[in-house]
């Protein structure tokens, strides 16, 4: 599966790694919903590190659609919440 970290690029990961990633991803969502800014940044960092560590980076010129997308490392909780709101950043 191909995962994109916004502003960084894409990584190809074996499906077997998704158990570990899913755990962090669920934690991230819970922290975002509860408004735990510190926890959100900690978990986001851990999740991005895991993707970089477990995945093989795709070359920049590769045109592969990303199945999963992660916010940029410096994204704030509020920004991610806005992106995940019903309308996204652009309604419709």
């Amino acid at each position: 599966m191909i995962v994109r970290i916004m502003g960084e690029g894409q990584w190809k990961l074996a499906d077997s790694h998704f158990v570990e990633l899913n755990k962090l991803d669920d934690d991230l969502l819970a922290e975002m919903e509860s408004g735990d800014e510190d926890g959100f940044h900690r978990t986001l960092g851990a999740l991005l590190d895991a993707v970089r560590r477990l995945g093989a980076p795709l070359p920049d010129e590769a045109l592969e659609p990303s199945e999963l997308i992660l916010p940029a490392p410096d994204a704030s909780l509020e920004e991610v919440r806005d992106m995940l709101s019903d309308d996204g950043l652009i309604p419709g």
């Binding site: 992106m83 996204g88 950043l89």
Partner: protein, 265 residues
């Protein structure tokens, strides 16, 4: 998976988000959409194939039931011919049960056929849409690539103009320096000419002048020596003769005549 990764992926796929555009290549989004449409088309086609398979299975079952029904009808007819009404009744009652099944299957068959037609039509429409999207996608991608190339050309041009600016500055500096040197040289010439400065570089001119001075000076000395020798040898007139071409006449006698002669000339 229902965390942030999945949801962001879904939102990304669903919306042309400007913030995401900064990180994503729009051509990637278009290709992704096209791929998704192809997958959808594939699903629809698979659905059409599944329905068609079910329809064919029903048709086979119907054929079997109808042949069984015909067989039971024949059996009933034969039983009656043999005077076995009981057997004929049994055969006909079994046939009636089969007929009910046939009717049910026929209803199902007709429903499936309707579904199949609808799905086939949907698949055709979807195919047309996907084809149209593909064309549009390639056009947009080409436009985007062209825009990118234009941007690069623009950047290259601005780079060139910067470079030209640098060259211009270098030329300007060279011109300034030349003008400065010329001004300095002019000022030095003026100072040298006015005598305010000694000419430290005028060695060659001095050599020539010295030689000329030496030569001219030397000639004068030689002439003077000859004149003096002539005076000592034969008085002033002898010396004058020697110098003026040796006429042999004494200077005291010739002087009054000589002057008008010079005046005539």
């Amino acid at each position: 998976m229902s965390g942030v990764m999945k949801r962001m992926g879904m939102i990304f796929r669903a919306k042309a988000n400007k913030a995401l555009d900064r990180a994503e290549d729009p051509r990637e989004t278009l290709d992704y959409s096209y791929q998704k449409q192809l997958e959808l088309l594939q699903k629809v086609r698979r659905g059409v194939a599944d329905v068609a398979t079910s329809r064919k299975r029903l048709e086979l079952q119907l054929n079997q039931l109808q042949s069984q029904s015909s067989k039971l009808e024949d059996q009933g007819r034969k039983a009656l011919a043999l005077g076995r009404e009981d057997l004929a009744r049994e055969a006909l009652s079994r046939r009636a049960a089969l007929q009910q099944q046939v009717t049910d299957l026929e209803t199902q068959h007709s429903t499936l056929q309707g579904e199949e037609e609808k799905l086939t039509l949907a698949a055709q429409r979807l195919q047309a849409k996907v084809d149209a999207f593909r064309t549009k996608k390639e056009t947009i991608k080409a436009t985007y690539t062209a825009a990118q190339a234009q941007t690069r050309i623009g950047e290259a041009f601005s780079g060139i103009s910067e470079e030209m600016g640098d060259v211009g500055l270098a030329i300007q500096r060279a011109e300034d320096k030349t003008a400065q040197l010329q001004a300095r040289a002019g000022a030095l010439d003026e100072l040298l000419a006015s005598g305010a400065l000694d000419d430290p570089t005028g060695i060659a001119r001095d050599d020539i002048q010295t030689e000329l001075d030496r030569l001219s000076g030397g000639t004068d000395v030689e002439l003077e020596l000859q004149r003096m020798k002539a005076e000592l040898a034969g008085g002033p007139s002898a010396g004058q003769q020697a110098i003026e071409g040796g006429t042999g006449r004494p200077q005291s006698q010739q002087q009054p005549q000589d002057t008008p002669r010079f005046d005539k000339q």
